[in-house]
Amino acid sequence: MLSMRNISKVFKTDLVETHALRDFNLEVNEGEFVAVTGPSGSGKTTFLNIAGMLEGFTHGEYLLDGVDVSNLSDNKSAAVRNEKIGFIFQGFNLIPDLNLAENVEVPLRYRGIKAAERRRRVEQALEQVGLGARMKHLPTQLSGGQQQRVAIARALAGEPRFLLADEPTGNLDSLMARQVMELLEKINQAGTTIVMVTHDPELARRAQRNIQIVDGQVCDFAASGLGQQQGLRQDQELTPLADLAADFAAKAKASA
């Protein structure tokens, strides 16, 4: 489904070059639910943005659904995002001037779907997240958890095969976070591949697979799915967790 090989991403500003991702390797299979964790600034959002084709990368190869998407035109990328990928953001990113139905409709309009079909899908998606009765409400009239469910409905309405979520529960209390997580699990069970960045270890544990990104690299060997190829030293595999942590700390210091 998703295959990244030796991806690197460098942000250049006038003063510094930031290596947000370096030699990043990851495979995600169809139907998986992958949780991504890692310290702040380690490159999680960068990875997710590249995976979702929101930004380009400096080196490497990225195949989505077996198709090399690294050199697509802007319009083509937009079409791929629109058709294959659903996004869920930490800040919900609902459009404040549009009611719930209109918000959910946004990606469908960009796909050029006819009005009747749009309405059907919007109703269905809002029904699915338990907000079918509130189509005409504005986002500000909803709680955070409800807003995130609307955002999920918006992502679902396009029937994507691939759902990307950047800390979808980051702005929610634990009860609401659990509800959102349950919703995502349901969606995953229905066949949608999900990659979710989270800071919450409890939620991460509920995913099928955990990936840790540290300093721009996937570092949990067991979770990477690529094993040896991913650039970690062979012996690291056997290193006890405590030593691993010390190793990361040293790495972090070196890069700071």
Partner: protein, 403 residues
């Protein structure tokens, strides 16, 4: 895909910003439509043909101070001198100068009986000899000019003949020819009409009878200390004409003041100065209003783009192409402008009606609000296009990165 409905509902939900802009556009359109109409009306007035060779005619005054002088005789002699100057085509003394803002106005009636006689509209009443037609450069389209021996020295004498301007003839006699008609000045003074002049304007550019004029066969000079003259000369002779006139008349009799040299074109320019000022001010106002409106539009678009950076990134993430973002802003502002433009056009018509009522302006032609609307859409396109293009360049990554 223009997606008008969500753009419209989003607009209707947003607060005062678009409303203020809408009001600004309504007022601008109403004012610009009327102003451009008035400009056009004034320009039409200013470009009317006087029928006169304005550029070629130099007018001036002679003030005689010598009480012993035979004024009438001197006047005749002066006209001879003027006609003999090199480059001069024709010269006449006159009682009034066309387009100058000052002159004689009179009426004629069609019978001796005051009770039953019908009066012509008021007309500019020129007095001049057989040279006058040539001096003015007007064209006789029917009948004939005066002969030299028919010239009188006062309009009170018998044997008064008249040339009438065609607009006057049509206003009073319709299709019938006026040539040969006997008219009356008061009850006893007869005036015979002997010819029709194609076009000859009077002295007052704002008078509604501006096109109605009569020339009578009276050599008006030497009636007092002050005489007016018109000298028509070719373009080559005009520059030095003033000096040669002064020199020649002073050689004949140095005891007088000769001044007020002005071509009829200059008289015309000063008569239309108020109109010209009005046109200039209104034009500046039109340009300024359009400029302010476009700045307002561009300002609001830029503000909205700033405010919606995250929204734009999110839309891009959800599959909007660059042109979807551009068309969003264009459509949004076209909606405001179209609404403002249509309301403004209606207001323009209402405003026009009030102006018509209170300032006796002509009725606003509908093409002006429509043209203004078209101009507004053009201005909108230019004001919105460039900021919108910048908005389209906002990275989809801002969906996750911006706060």
């Amino acid at each position: 895909m223009l997606h008008i409905k969500p753009i419209l509902s989003s607009l209707l939900r947003s607060k005062s910003g678009p409303l203020l802009l809408l009001i600004q556009i309504i007022l601008s359109v109403a004012i610009v439509a009327n102003a451009s109409f008035i400009i056009h009306e004034r320009l039409a007035l200013m470009s009317r043909d006087s029928g006169i060779a304005e550029e070629e005619i130099l007018s001036f005054n002679v003030y005689n101070f010598d009480p012993s002088m035979d004024m009438a005789q001197q006047n005749k002699q002066d006209q001879q001198i003027l006609r003999a100057l090199p480059g001069v085509i024709s010269a006449s003394s006159t009682n009034m100068l066309p387009l100058s803002g000052g002159g004689w106005m009179d009426r004629l009636v069609d019978g001796p009986d005051v009770e039953t006689a019908k009066s012509t509209p008021g007309f500019a009443f020129y007095l001049g000899n057989e040279q006058m037609v040539d001096t003015l450069g007007v064209k006789i389209v029917e009948g004939r000019n005066f002969f030299a021996e028919e010239i009188r020295s006062s309009p009170a004498e018998s044997g008064i003949l008249a040339l009438v301007s065609k607009p006057l003839a049509q206003a009073f006699w319709g299709e019938e020819s006026p040539v040969g008609k006997i008219m009356y000045q008061g009850t006893d003074q007869q005036v015979e009409i002997i010819g029709v002049i194609e076009q000859l304007q009077g002295a007052w550019v704002d008078h509604r009878n501006f096109e109605y004029s009569v020339i009578a066969n009276v050599d008006w000079g030497g009636q007092g200390a002050n005489s007016s003259y018109m000298v028509r000369a070719g373009a080559a002779a005009l520059p030095g004409l003033k000096d040669s006139i002064i020199a020649a008349l002073h050689r004949e009799n140095p005891n007088r003041v000769i001044d007020n040299f002005k071509t009829i074109a200059e008289h015309r320019a000063s008569s239309y100065r108020d109109h010209e000022l009005m046109v200039t001010i209104l034009s500046m106002m039109v340009v300024l209003l359009l400029l302010i409106t476009s700045l307002g539009l561009a300002g609001m678009v830029m503000f909205n783009i700033e405010r919606r950076t995250k929204q734009i990134g999110t839309r891009r993430a959800l599959g909007a192409r660059k042109r979807d973002i551009m068309s969003y802003f264009l459509v949004e502002n076209y909606l405001i402008c179209l609404a403002g433009g249509i309301l403004g056009a209606l207001l323009a018509v209402l405003l026009g009606q009030q102006l018509m009522k209170f300032y006796s302006l002509p009725k606003l032609e509908l093409i002006y609000p429509l043209l203004t609307l078209a101009g507004l859409l053009l201005v909108t396109t230019m004001a919105v296009f460039f900021p919108a293009r910048k908005a389209a360049d906002i990275s989809p990554a801002l969906a996750t990165r911006s706060v």
